[in-house]
Symmetry: C2
Subunit: 278 residues, 2 copies
């Protein structure tokens, strides 16, 4: 850092102190030098917030803790949220044509063939999962299964849990998934012996964490990173990005909204939240 | 849609009814044929959730209402959240090197030179704003100013409000911005005669809506789209993506957290939320 005078030093310190987590870019992050290798799986027809909700928290925290990001897909290069062809939700569903939806496009840095060693694997969901199911395409699942032992943790958001089931890594485990597509997502067709939890914002097993749909990924990621790194910097981060996380994994009003069998209709649908640590 | 039998029709209808908004892809959307042309400005050093929070709600709604998306930057092609060089926060700030942060990369479909007609312009924030300020680069602002009259609405998230100030379109108007970078963002250096509101999750003027930092963009977008299209389908959408929006624009605990001058310290920091419309 370049300082012109003592006054400039004081201004700099006060400015940085007031910035909070959103612009918490320092010098080299404070944890041990070996960066945490994060692998975010992406695929055509991804759900945008399944990726960028949790990724925002990671991005903000990456100024404090040493991390790298690989975005991994069938091929490297551009990947669109709009599917290129119609699909059905399950083998008996009506044909749905996504050609009118918006098409935000993100870059995959690696393919399933050349991804580096990954410490944390994160699997989003989206309508792309329906098409891969239609096509009996298990390449993503094979990749996840092949990297499972090497990973410290595997997390899924939304219908990404169904991908984990198809990969065989949820057998004998508890998990949750998207509530608006619950019927498709929890079908035993995808994987036997999975204990699907109908009332859960997220579920944590030893090394597998699964969240409910879309926005729930952020709440799971907040809980996971608080567990992994401790609360202080993680609270600083979510306060910097002005996100008030839902911290009770049993708060799941969307199971009620979407008529999930076994939803807890006796509990209030409301959750009260505020700045983390306050 | 292809139906094999009456039973299949019933299964299809029940499946779609239970899906909610997250997979609300139908045939051609129900509104008038002319699509709403959305322009999302992006730039190196964008804040991921500034873009993909609001964009998730738009994406989910785009199966119901006819929309197109242009992502507009200095040049078309890949745009990274990681800046390529160090920056200072304002002219007196310390030099900050972002080389260790994560680098999610998204695609710009258009440049400022060739963007189509835009009905809704959305301007995110991010550390890239600091570098553009360092470099006295006003190309983004010139684009916004040139398209302002033609647009129906202009929205900003986070330090994107400072971009609107620099574009000259906030003169004589009320606005809010990121609370963790409040001092930099509201400097009169960026634009005179802006009434910056310290306690606001978002502020709406006739055609300009500005939100507080990062996650606040989603709450503003929910309010804006409810205003623009009406509540029913928009509520369906946020319930499908399992997001419980903050609906009070005066709830702004992060102004207190970040010691913003004029923050309302008398009010509770907590907001209670649940599924929209319940």
């Amino acid at each position: 850092m370049l300082f012109k005078s003592t006054r400039a030093v004081l201004v700099a310190i006060l400015s940085l102190a007031s910035l909070g987590g959103a612009f918490n870019l320092g010098e080299k992050p404070v944890q041990n030098d070996k960066p945490l290798s994060i692998g975010y799986i992406i695929f055509p027809g991804f759900e945008p917030l399944d990726i960028f909700g949790p990724l925002e928290i990671l991005f903000s925290l990456s100024g404090t803790y040493n991390m790298t990001l690989s975005t991994v897909s069938f091929t490297s290069g551009p990947v669109s949220a709009r599917l290129p062809k119609p699909f059905t939700i399950g083998p008996d569903g009506p044909l749905t044509d996504p050609k009118y939806v918006l098409d935000p496009t993100i870059m995959a840095t690696h393919s399933f063939k050349n991804a580096p060693k990954l410490d944390i694997i994160i699997v989003p969901g989206g309508v792309g999962d329906f098409l891969l199911d239609n096509e009996n395409n298990f390449e993503m699942e094979h990749f996840i299964a092949s990297r499972f032992d090497q990973a410290e943790y595997v997390l899924s958001v939304c219908t990404g849990a169904t991908t984990l089931a198809r990969a065989g890594i949820l057998a004998g485990k508890r998990a949750t998934t998207n509530k608006s597509a619950w019927q498709w997502a929890t079908s035993s067709r995808h994987g036997a012996n999975v204990t699907w939890i109908p009332n859960a914002r997220w579920v944590s097993n030893e090394k597998i964490w699964t969240s409910s749909g879309v926005a729930a990924g952020m709440d799971m990621m907040y809980a996971f990173l608080s567990f992994y790194y401790g609360s202080e910097q993680v609270n600083n981060t979510v306060n910097g990005i002005e996100y008030a996380p839902h911290t009770d994994p049993h708060w799941d009003p969307f199971a009620v909204v979407h008529n999930v069998p076994g939803a807890d209709t006796s509990r209030s649908l409301i959750d009260c939240t505020g700045p983390a640590g306050y």
